[in-house]
């Protein structure tokens, strides 16, 4: 918060954001815990079910998110150098990549739903219990991650507006930096989801 002297407590804002990231680590951590226990108990079922995943789309989506992280990081450097337009352009590219990620995710989900694999579907319920768990965790974990990507896109859109209005500027970057921290965290969650659901077969 700004005080009467106009001082901006960037360190405090950053610390607050990190605390939020820590709660998010524990939030996703609970699901990773479930995944590892069920994977241990039903390793063969998880192995069979993971073969259903589209490795190409998963890999492309990983590359997209890694690149989007680069863009938001560069947008922060740009605003620190006072390059307002370049910074907001990089933020726009980040949003476009986030949306591309979600569109690819949509096609992945639809491909599964088309062959009758969705929670509580008759086809899924006939599968082995470990496979039911695998797809249940797949939908919950990628769904909650996708929700985080969607929220991130909306937040970055606000940051673009602030950057253009110059309420985010080279002397006041905290909001954009915190948005970056959030976006990188979402990237890290995907870095672990990718091998766990797509690669480990």
């Amino acid at each position: 918060m700004s005080t009467q002297t106009g001082h901006i407590d960037a360190a405090g804002k950053k610390m607050g954001m990190w605390f939020f990231v820590f709660t998010e680590i524990l939030f996703f951590g609970g699901m990773f815990l479930l995944y590892s226990i069920f994977r241990y108990k039903y390793s063969q079922d998880f192995h069979n079910a993971a073969a259903e995943e589209n490795i190409l789309l998963g890999t492309v989506n990983t590359a997209i998110l890694l690149t989007s992280s680069l863009c938001i990081a560069l947008s922060i450097s740009a605003i620190r150098r006072g390059e307002r337009f370049f910074s907001s352009w990089l933020q726009l590219v980040t949003i476009v990549m986030g949306v591309a990620f979600l569109v690819i995710k949509y096609f992945e989900w639809m491909a599964k739903i088309d062959i009758g694999i969705y929670p509580d579907s008759p086809i899924l319920l006939k599968m082995a219990s470990g496979e039911i768990l695998f797809f249940g965790l797949y939908y919950v974990m990628t769904g909650l991650h996708g929700l985080h990507v969607l929220v991130g896109c909306v937040v970055i859109a606000f940051m673009m507006r602030f950057t253009m209005k110059q309420t985010i500027n080279r002397g006041n970057v905290a909001r954009l930096e915190n948005t970056g921290l959030y976006w990188h965290f979402v990237d890290i969650v995907w870095i672990y989801l990718y091998p766990l659901f797509y690669l480990i077969t």
Binding site: A10, L33, I55, L66, A73, E177, D187, I188
Partner: protein, 97 residues
């Protein structure tokens, strides 16, 4: 972000680019390890190790953790330790039940 000298640090574009290329190289590596079954029975361990290196690069450079003080680093270690403890204790329960 301030470094120890109190100056605002702008990480060079070159460093970000190198980190990004390293991340893409690790993505290719983890794909190769999984598809070609290079590590055979250690493939799960290998994939998770590569993921952890990727996460570490994102944390250190994109999230600037490399340039942060001990307090923040300590808090992150505390969080990850708590998570490891939860997972470890749950596995002990599953193994010896």
């Amino acid at each position: 972000m301030k470094d120890s000298s109190g100056e605002t640090r702008i990480i060079a574009t070159r460093i970000y680019a190198v980190v990004w290329l390293a991340l893409l190289a690790l993505l290719a590596a983890t794909l190769a390890v999984a598809r070609l079954q290079l590590l055979a029975r250690y493939s799960v361990l290998g994939s998770l190790l590569i993921a952890t290196v990727k996460a570490g690069l994102v944390l250190a450079f994109f999230m600037h953790l490399k340039y942060e003080g001990r307090f923040l680093k300590g808090l992150l270690i505390l969080t990850l330790s708590a998570l490891s403890l939860f997972i470890g204790l749950t596995f002990i329960d599953v193994w010896y039940r």
